[in-house]
């Protein structure tokens, strides 16, 4: 589903964000991407969305070499990928329903599809009773559920989540993880970048660790702390984005 071969990304010719990464993720896998701030997690996600082009190597997503994708095909690539962010990225002027419907409308789905799909996915994320609320009227966890609903409403093959629990308290985070797990069980490949030790340790899924842009660990049923040299618990990067 996702394959990176000797992928490098260098900014301004000198800053190396991703260094010679080889990674292969099968359909239906759930993968945690861990590592300190600046280790290249977000760059990797941007490469998969083709928001960035690699300076070296090749990236395949859903069987396509995305570096070779012509510009006008990029939106179609993105339709097969759902994305969830730490800051939710909801439109405050639209209701819950409209926020989710927006994702279908802008890719030209007919009205009856929107009318039937949006309630279904809102029920899936547990917000069936709050369709007419505005994001401001919701808790952080509920907002993140809306953003997951928006990412999933088009039934993407892949769900990319960049620190989805970064702004949430532990209890709420568990709820979000259950939701992502459910989505994964529908066959959707999930790649989640995170700093959340507790979650990674509890889920016991595949863990890929990045350090200074390179893959330093890839374990099938891993935990957050892979080796003794990563001892800083509650390290400063926990504060990232606050």
């Amino acid at each position: 589903m996702i394959r990176l071969k000797s992928v490098s990304k260098t900014y301004d010719g000198s800053t190396v964000a991703v260094r010679n990464v080889d990674l292969s993720i099968q359909k239906g896998e759930f993968v945690f991407l861990v590592g300190p701030s600046g280790s290249g997690k977000s760059t990797l996600i941007r490469l998969l969305l083709r928001e960035e082009q690699p300076t070296g190597g090749q990236v395949w997503v859903a069987g396509r070499d995305i570096a070779a994708l012509p510009e006008w095909r990029v939106p179609y690539l993105r339709r097969s990928i759902g994305t969830v962010f730490q800051d939710f990225k909801l439109l405050n002027s639209k209701t819950v329903f409209e926020n989710v419907a927006f994702a279908l409308e802008v890719i030209g789905r007919p009205r009856h599809v929107v009318q039937s799909q949006v309630p279904k996915v809102l029920k899936l994320v547990g917000l069936a009773s709050k369709t007419d609320r505005y994001p401001r009227q919701l808790s952080g966890g509920e907002q993140q559920r809306v953003s997951i609903a928006r990412a999933f409403v088009n039934r993407p093959l892949i769900l990319l989540a960049d620190e989805p629990t970064g702004n949430l308290d532990p209890t709420t985070s568990v709820g979000i993880m259950r939701l992502l797990d459910r989505i994964n069980r529908t066959g959707t490949t999930v790649l989640m970048a995170t700093h959340d030790h507790a979650i990674v340790d509890a889920m016991r899924r595949r863990v890929v660790e990045l350090d200074r842009g390179a893959v330093v660990r890839d374990e099938v049923r891993g935990v957050y702390e892979g080796s003794p040299r990563l001892v800083e618990v509650g390290s400063p990067e926990e504060a990232e984005g606050i």
Partner: protein, 296 residues
């Protein structure tokens, strides 16, 4: 993509930045008004010249001394010139009559005039307007001729003036057209800025590039078309008022020989052309705005 969606988004953009939009539309309006007027003035000049081309006249005012016998001899002499197509002799009495006919307003003045006041004249129509200068020169050498008057010179001067006027209007129109494009690209830029969150989400969920861009292009084109429409309307009104002014105060303005009559077909045609230019200006402006500020 639905049309109602496009127009709806575009008008939302337009409403958000009223002041900026009004500025852009005004720039389009003034630029295209100048363009439209340049087209009208150019056509009036062409029509006028064509009308003169049909019968370029030279008027030679004669001294009284030779008497009517001398005038007849002179007519015969001029008639032998190859360049002359038609010749008409206007006696002093006929001249007075003509004056009274052309200038009915100056009734009191014409009462004062006697048949002796105005000179007799020979008026000729040239076989070929190109011989104009030659014939004028030949007249000037005749001692019976007091003064040679050739309306063609007036036309010539007026043509020069209209050409200058035309160039100035076109230059101003182009300069303002460029500023209109810049202003439109600015309104599009502001609209993009106002919607940056929406746009980033649209891109994230895979909206096609055209889906994201089209409302902004429509916005720019609406600005251009509205500016063009107002310009054509204002130009048309100005033209009609000018003609009305001519028909009431004709001789006072001294331009009664202008061929200001333009066919509705010409006006409609050029009006549509100007409108198309407005749309084009808007499209170019929004493309510039998009290119610079919206990389999809």
């Amino acid at each position: 993509m639905r049309v109602e969606h496009l127009v709806g988004e575009a008008t939302t953009n337009l409403r958000r930045n009223t002041l900026l939009v009004v500025g852009a539309v005004l720039a389009v309006f003034i630029s295209l008004l100048l363009g439209f007027l340049a087209l009208v003035v150019g056509q009036v000049a062409r029509n006028t010249v064509n009308a003169w081309g049909d019968d370029v006249q030279i008027v030679a005012f004669l001294h009284d001394d030779p008497g009517s016998a001398g005038h007849v001899a002179l007519q015969n002499q001029v008639n032998t010139w190859d360049e002359v197509d038609e010749l008409r002799y206007v006696s002093k009495a006929q001249a007075l009559e003509e004056f009274r006919r052309i200038f009915p307003r100056y009734e009191r003045l014409s009462q004062e005039l006697t048949a002796d006041t105005l000179p007799a004249s020979i008026r000729i129509k040239l076989a070929d307007p190109a011989d104009h200068d030659l014939v004028v020169e030949r007249f000037e050498q005749l001692e019976e001729v007091q003064r040679v008057l050739s309306p063609a010179e007036i036309v010539d001067n007026w043509l020069k003036l209209s050409r200058i006027l035309n160039s100035v209007m076109l230059a101003l129109g182009v300069a303002l057209g460029i500023s209109a494009i810049v202003l439109i690209s600015n309104t599009v830029r502001m609209a993009i800025y106002a919607r940056r969150d929406e746009i980033s989400i649209m891109k994230l969920v895979g909206a096609s590039n055209w889906f994201v861009r089209a409302p902004f292009v429509v916005e720019g084109m609406i600005e251009g078309l509205v500016g063009g429409l107002v310009a054509v309307a204002a130009g048309w009104v100005a033209y009609v008022l000018f003609r009305r002014g001519l028909s009431t105060g004709t001789n006072a303005l001294g331009v009664d020989w202008l061929q200001t009559e333009l066919s509705p077909g010409f006006l409609w045609g050029r009006g549509l052309l100007i409108l198309a230019f407005g749309g084009l200006t808007g499209a170019i402006g929004s493309f510039l705005g998009l290119r610079k500020y919206l990389r999809v």
